[in-house]
């Protein structure tokens, strides 16, 4: 009995508590989006009011579209750069590779706030106006390390003999890249793209410091609405975003199937 208590019950309760801590706020947020109350208060009475308000709220929708496009562009640039970097770094000497890797990974360990500030000061220093180009550049800097992490893990598990084999069978370097290297890296490219997308999509600091006046992103809008009065439209749009992310994840899971499984779970024999 005592053994059951210490070995089974306590760990289970502990795990459930941790999960509750993670998911309860999200569930509350989603539920309150369907509540009539303006101030997220009980009693609960079901309403789609905030969803219809959201549909008419152009500021919020435009901000969401901006965030989506920005994250998409950032993710695309990141996967192309990250793929080029990891392949290029293979040809460097060990110490050069280490140096290069550290330089790319560094933004992970510098607070985004500091990075954003330095970029803003740099733009001022160059006497330029804030524009979307800098916002994208800033987002690429902070998202790239995540795309790199995913690709590096994959490329290290990649058997270098595959590319040699392809060459010995008569394939040109380009053909080998297209038919062997890219398919082998594909799961990592997709996963890296997703990570970069997520990092960019919810980034606040970089966007806030660098974005030109009159434009905004979803995190910036949410932040300002908290300041100036918060309506459950925010709950509604958050719920939509969570839904879309889950849908994307499911689709990718279906397409990539076992390759994602392999990547996350490592190489199982």
């Amino acid at each position: 009995m005592r053994k059951y208590f210490t070995d089974q019950l306590i760990p289970t309760v502990y795990a459930l508590m941790a999960l509750a801590f993670l998911y309860t706020p999200i569930i509350v947020l989603m539920v309150m989006g369907f509540n009539e109350s303006r101030y997220n208060t009980l009693p609960f009475s079901f309403s789609l009011e905030w969803y219809s308000a959201l549909a008419k709220n152009e500021v919020l929708i435009n901000a969401a579209i901006n965030s989506f496009v920005l994250a998409l562009i950032t993710a695309l640039i990141c996967v192309v750069l990250a793929t080029m970097f990891v392949l290029g770094m293979k040809t460097l000497s060990r110490s050069m590779e280490g140096l290069f890797r550290s330089l790319i990974m560094m933004p992970m360990s510098i607070p985004w706030l500091i990075l954003a500030l330095s970029m803003l000061l740099f733009i001022r220093f160059l006497d330029l106006d804030k524009n979307m180009f800098f916002v994208v550049a800033g987002h690429v800097v902070i998202s790239l390390p995540y795309a790199m992490l995913s690709l590096q893990a994959r490329i290290q598990a990649l058997d270098p003999a595959l590319e040699e084999m392809s060459a010995s069978l008569g394939a040109s370097a380009l053909s080998t890249f297209r038919r062997i290297t890219v398919p082998a890296l594909a799961p990592a490219i997709v996963a890296g793209g997703f990570l970069a997308f997520m990092i960019s999509f919810d980034n606040f600091a970089i966007s806030y410091f660098l974005i030109p006046a009159g434009t905004s992103t979803l995190p910036i809008e949410i932040q300002s609405s908290i300041k100036f009065g918060f309506t459950p439209e925010i709950n509604a749009i958050s719920t939509v975003i969570i839904g879309v992310s889950l849908l994307c994840l499911a689709i990718v899971g279906l397409i990539m199937g076992s390759s994602i499984e392999n990547m996350i779970g490592g190489k199982k024999k």
Binding site: A161, E164, M165, A167, S168, L169, G170, S172
Partner: protein
Amino acid sequence: MANIKLENLTKRFGENTVVDRVNIEIPNGTLVSILGPSGCGKTTLLRMIAGFETPDEGSIFFDQDSVVNVPANKRNIGMVFQSYALFPHMTVEENVAYGLQQRKLSKEEIDARVKQVIDTVHMKEFQKRKPKQLSGGQQQRVALARALAISPRLLLLDECLSALDKKLRVEMQTELRKILEESKVTTFFVTHDQEEAMTLSDFIVVMNKGIIEQMGTPLEVYEKPKNKFVASFLGKANFFQSEDGTSFAVRPEKIHLSAEEQAGARQEGVITFITYSGNITSYTIECDGEAVLCEKQNVQIRENLKKGQKVFLRWDKDSEIELADE
């Protein structure tokens, strides 16, 4: 298919000369094993022939053509690696077709050739599978089929049986030999397994520390090894000094043992260890502080020799292998 000639082939990595002035000439259709301990340069040699490493000196000829400056993808060489390196995202068929597709053949030609090669290695029922769904032996066959599909001038096998378990390896050796004899392709087979080299090859090249120690048929290198290294790397050997100071070797199976003193006995000693392994029994005999190994075919069950017993050793003069001075 081609005659292959390596001339003074040399490769250095920094201060290390890993392949040192290697000369080999092999006629069309032969199977040559390159045998040596790890680090002897055999894999580097193979990689130079394949075009993955550039030699620092020397030439490689396929028939009359020097290929040193030909890139790997233009050499038309079939390769099988120890890891097989099957393309994981392609089915068996697609793996085998890959090399043919690079050659811009028509779809009909490719399909016909793929079918033919897959039949040769008996993998017809698995052709739609991915490599992950195959056993080690099956993957091995696919790797071989893929290398043979392109009708290579030369086939390079790099420790390609080492990953299989013993029983399967022996089966594959026989099958490999059959397939290679049918396809008549000149083959280099790199291995550190002397038994495998003996079973498979027409010629054996014994390498050590970047140089060729000896080259010859399996019979020649086993019966007439030139030096101590070859004698001990290929099979087992006992080493003795003759009265004039030269050294010679005697294979364990060529030593006769008897409990009674007889004419012509060369050594006498005490049995210190007996190992019975079914077909043979091995005796370790201590003679003047030197351990001598002797192996007997168990034609009859012999139990007359016991541990601690004094025995007399005899061998024919022909069984003495003279060794070059080291």
